[in-house]
Amino acid sequence: MELFLQQVVAGVATGSIYACMALAIVMIYQAIDHLNFAQGEMAMISTFIAWQLMAWGLPYWAAFIATIGLSFMGGLAIERIVFKPLHNAPVLSHVVVFIALFTVLNSTAGFIWDFSIKPFPTPFGTRPLFGSSLVGSHQAGMIAVTLALLVALYLFFRHTRIGLAMRAAAENPTSARLVGIRVGWMAALGWGMASAVGAIAGMLIAPVVFLEPNMMLGILLYGFAGAVLGGLTSPGGAVLGGFLVGILENLAGTYIPVIGGELKLPLALLVIVSVLVLKPGGLFGRTTVQRV
């Protein structure tokens, strides 16, 4: 029993990484209706920018804030430059560009900062929390930041005019244009915000997995699994989904001997496939009915 509880707690700790990433994924899915495969690489670049700023002597929080701002501008720029010309193109064109973006960002990071593994500082310290070695203070801080971010996004989308306009642009672009909302700019804003959320995720994840160009590869997959499990249309569901995937991963690794440490990644794929087959809307997502 104690082993079980320990594994659940450890699962929550790793789950906080996935929850953070899942939140960024859902953000952009809401704005553009596509899964952005380059989301992880965008977060990785942001994290490198933060590392570079600190290497140049900026204190942690100054670098943190500056990185969020730069990432927002970067996301906005990617939408305006790369995706705006494509906005009437079929889904496959978008997928191809996502993959291109993935490769370009990954190689650029390798070219500028090389592929050696770098440590990344944490503002929360590394002391064990409550005398347990399973959840450190960094993990606790990460969970707190993720939840705070979730609440902030909820308030933004529910109670501000611009948040309302962004939701309207995503739900019914034609009607949104007819009331004067600049739909193209709303998508750009969605990219900027998703990129900023991804930057926060990256900076929180880096102290755990260390900083290098491929740091996000596995995490993005787990993040996708969490987002799909919780429902791609529900930010809260995606965060919960991220935690659930973390717990599931730990429990399966402990109790199912074949899986051990080696087969954990296929488990994320298994989650994605089973959710899409059994309950495509996810746990908290909306099922859309479309007349054809």
């Binding site: 309302l164 939701r167 019914n172 034609t174 009607s175 244009r177 004067g180």
Partner: protein
């Protein structure tokens, strides 16, 4: 009366197919113009062309502005509210959010609340349902919501696309009674497209008849109702 909207030689279509060929029509400041015609005559296409939702050619003057060069968003910001075919409801949002979206282009945020009260006064059912998700409203209520959303823009011109479509006769009568009140109390012009010619002519001052993308008849709404061609084809008499 001066023309608020003056359209000359309007052509429009979808893809490579032209639906509208050189149509001329006008809407007076504060007046109501009805656009009649059979299915496929180009009525909805005319409204979409005015709003820049589709490819168009010719000249569209609104106040002093040339609409043919503007985007849909900017046309809305000039004060043209479009109540589209199918009502264009934001299905997943509440009634109150739908109304607030109508006012999205306005800067005078202080006045928006007062206008909301006015819309609730025209359509009391919307106030009762203000916290409900709009997708769950009945057809008639969604049509009221669409008109309410248009009024929230404080428009100078409302384009109404088949407001009676798919509604029960009693609901339609109620809706047109409210439209008559709106035209009396607000300083707003309307361009209304209707299959139900009798209703539209009762509301309008001026009418145009479209056939296969061309204006074939125009005149005062009262005279229109007496015209033999209109009576036999569109009024069923």
């Amino acid at each position: 009366m001066t023309a608020l909207l003056q359209i000359k030689g309007l052509g429009a279509g979808y893809g490579r197919a032209d639906v509208l060929h050189a149509a001329d029509l006008a809407v007076a400041e504060g007046g109501v113009t009805a656009l009649l015609g059979a299915n496929g005559a180009g009525k909805t296409t005319t409204l979409r062309a005015i709003c820049g939702l589709i490819r168009r050619s010719g000249s569209i003057r609104f106040g002093g502005a040339a609409l043919e060069e503007l985007s849909t968003e900017d046309i809305a910001r000039l004060g043209i509210a479009h109540v589209p075919e199918g009502r264009g409801t934001f299905q997943r949002m509440t009634v109150a959010e739908n109304l607030n979206l109508g006012a999205m282009s306005r800067r005078d945020t202080g006045q928006i609340k007062a206008d909301m009260t006015k819309v609730y006064d025209y359509f009391p059912i919307l106030e009762e349902r203000r916290a409900q998700v709009a997708g769950l409203l009945s057809g008639g209520e969604q049509q009221m919501l669409a008109i309410g959303r248009a009024l929230m823009l404080r428009p100078r011109l409302i384009l109404l696309d088949e407001p009676s479509f798919g509604l029960a006769p009693l609901v339609v009568r109620n809706l047109f009674a409210i439209l008559t009140r709106v035209r009396r109390e607000e300083n707003v012009a309307m361009l209304i497209v209707e299959q139900n010619a009798a209703l539209a002519l009762a509301l309008a001052d001026v009418a145009y008849l479209l056939e296969t993308g061309r204006v074939v008849l125009s005149g005062a709404a009262g005279a229109f109702a007496q015209n033999e061609r209109v009576r036999s084809a569109y009024l069923g008499a």
